[in-house]
Each structure stands twice: as structure tokens, then as C-alpha cells.
Symmetry: C2
Subunit: 254 residues, 2 copies
Amino acid sequence: MTRSLTGKFKGVGKLAAVLVGENSASVLYLRKKGELAEKLGVKFELVKLPKNSSTKKVVEEIQRLNSDKGVAGIIVQLPLPKQIDVDVVVNAALPNKDVDGLTDANILSGNVLPATATGILRLLTEYKIDLRNKKIGLVGFTRLLNLPLSLHFARLGNSVVVLQEGTKNFGELKMVDVIITAVGKPGLISGKDIKWGAVVIDAGIVTINGKVRGDCDASVSKMAGWMTPVPGGVGPMTVVSLLVNLKKLAKTRL
Amino acid sequence: MTRSLTGKFKGVGKLAAVLVGENSASVLYLRKKGELAEKLGVKFELVKLPKNSSTKKVVEEIQRLNSDKGVAGIIVQLPLPKQIDVDVVVNAALPNKDVDGLTDANILSGNVLPATATGILRLLTEYKIDLRNKKIGLVGFTRLLNLPLSLHFARLGNSVVVLQEGTKNFGELKMVDVIITAVGKPGLISGKDIKWGAVVIDAGIVTINGKVRGDCDASVSKMAGWMTPVPGGVGPMTVVSLLVNLKKLAKTRL
């Protein structure tokens, strides 16, 4: 999956990540991001800030990275400690360095999609799944994935329906051709809820008692025409997508 | 239509509008906004800046209004002269004073919808048009109307399809129950393009040779179950909506 990216980062500049505190999952994700970056010839700088940092302190650090011409991309590793205003911190990054695609400006313009969204679209392309004139069902609606995807698919002219857990129109899931679910509630979707042959992307990944699970139960695979496995489907694509976004942003700055 | 707003603005603070240059349509719209505000007991302040003002100058003026506690709402009258960065200027207003609902933050959160969108939803409510489980077709996709409406309807769980002029899926217009069009191209939609009984909101208003026209031609009224007239439909609602938004924002600041 990373083959097509090899050797394409010459002179692009480094990737910087801001980590506040020591959340163990965050440390693990950042290690994976750093490893892939260095494998592809991109320098990786980890900026560690203490857990009790203020919003102002984190913003100042991001502004320093904004004005550093050697930095091509900035990751703000989520989640952030509770005292921090996430909206303010995420939007402090310059949109043209926002490799995670999380600033308001990038979400609205669609210039850079969030890494998970980029990963899912890449996955669909790699498997030659044609989305033209398909009806898309998005389950859950956050700015990390389905909100920006709703804008993306709307711009393409796809019919899009957003379903929330517990809404009375959940039955509409049976009418859609492609399901992208990201709620984080294992067993939310069963085979009986979906259309025969639907494409199912399960990004609702949580770890329960050490086991990684998605929103779909085992019966979904019997109805789906194609679906992503959990674990191993959407997750690894997200890391790759950061580098895809980095390359895209580097181009727009040239 | 303004009856329900009378007497509800005591102690709310004033409405300020920033006008750059002397565009005659802008002057007319602002006069209407000012007249309605004063009729409802809201003070109206017009800040006039010269046509050749820089982005920096306009932003500074908005920041002054941001920090003025007597100002409850800020309008940045569009269009702005070409030398000005519209994105920067529009986003300079504090989201909780952004009565036009045009800042990135308000568009994404849906806290305040753009005035035209607020007006259309109000119109549908007044005429008791039930949107539950209806499929919505949005024609054109700008941040002034259909982009924020797509997020709004998506959050409600409606099925939404966005159609652009000239896209090959324009035929999908025949499948939707409610059409909201805002392209500004007279004759774009004919009766044969739509479903029998559809609700049609025409916000694609342009003036050609002194005549005000919408996106729909005359044959649409024969197929539609309900539709807004042009002129006289969506336009007047927009002015009222500024005051509806002002009231809503004033509440969130208390």
C-alpha cells in the first residue's frame, strides 16, 4: 500500500507532531506515523508538551511550527487533555500544513480530507469499487470522518443519508449501496439491517477487553458484497494517508 | 412574518453592519435590514469603509466590533471588493456575533445557519411542510446556502442529494421530494425535470433587464405541489432571519 509513495518526498520538509501528555495509544500511533515517515524519507519531529499545558501554550507551539519553513506538515495528536480547547488548538495549524485535514477551513473546502477519510477513499479506489450514482449511508456524524465525507460525496453528486444511532430512520440503512460506519459501538449493525451486496466500511473501532471490534457484528459479512475487516481494515490506511496528504499539501505550496 | 419577533429584543444590544464601497444593491439591502432592526427596537450601526480598503483594515474594524460589548451582532455585507480576502474577513467576526451564520465555525457546528437558510426553514415551518423522511435535492453548493443546509439535513437524517448544473446525475432531481435551488441561472429547472407534487424552493435569484427571476421556469409551477414565488419568496425571509439569528445568539451569550 505504501509502494506508490516511495521516493516521492524529496525536498518536501519534515512532518511535526504535537503530543500533549503521555496517552499510551497516542504514543503508539505516533510511533507508527514516525516510522512510516522515516521509511519514506520524511524527517519526523515529535514535540512533547506536559499533560497540564494550557490551550495558549499548545497554540504557541503550533504557531512556531507554522512559521518554521522546514516544517511541511503538522499533526496535533488527539485526544487532548480536558483543560484544552480542541477547536482552538486544531484550527491553530495553517490549513496548508494541516496533514490531518482537521481545520475548519480544510473540512469546508474539502482541499484535504481527514486522514481516515482519505484512507477509506484510497481503499475503495484500490479495490476498484465504483461509487458513481451509488447511494451512500453514513452512520455517525463527526468532523473526524463522516461530516467531511458527507460534503465530499455531496460535491460528487452522490445521494447521501446520515444515520445516527437510535434515530427512527435507521431502517433506511437497508436502502443504501455503501455504508461507512464510525460510531464505536460493537454490534450496532447486523446483517438484517443492510441491503444484500452492500459495500460496508467499518471505522467504528474500539478495544474491549483487549479485543479490537467494529460497529458490525459477524452476520454483516454474510449480507455484504464487500467489507473491511476489523482489525486491519481502515486503521492502517489512516497512517498512510497522512503521508498522502503531506504530499498533496507540499504540491500546493510550490 | 415579523409579528412573532416584536418586543423580544430588550437589552439585546445593537446590530452592526460593515459595508465596503457603495455597491447599490448592498446599500438597498442594508437599508432594509436597518429598517427592520429599528422597527423591532434594535439599534443599527452602519460602518462604512472606502472601496479601496485593505483586508487588514476591514478585519481591524470587525475586531473593534467584536470587543464592543454593546454590539450583539455583526453583518459583513457581501459582495466585497476584489482586493479583499473574503474568507479572512468573514471569519474575523466572533462566531457568537455572526448573525449571518457565515463563519467556518458556525457553518460546521450548525449553531447558526446562514440567514437565507434560516429563512427557508422558517418558511417551511410556517407553511407546515413536514420534512421527516423526505428526500432533499440541493441544486448548487455554496457556503451561503446549500452547503450548510446539506449538513443541517444530514444531521436530521434526511436523505440528501446535491446536484450541480451540468452533472450527469441531474436526472436524480426527479426522485426528490423537496428541491432547494440556488444557482442563479433562469430556466435551469423545468417542470419535466421534477417529481409530481414536489416542494420547490427557488433561491437562485438574479435580475435580468430589470426583471427578477429564479432558477425555475414557468412550467415548474404545474408540477410542483408547493413552491416559493420569485420575487417575494425567499428574499424577504432573509432579512427577517438576521433578527432571528440575533435573538438566538443573544441567548447563548447570557
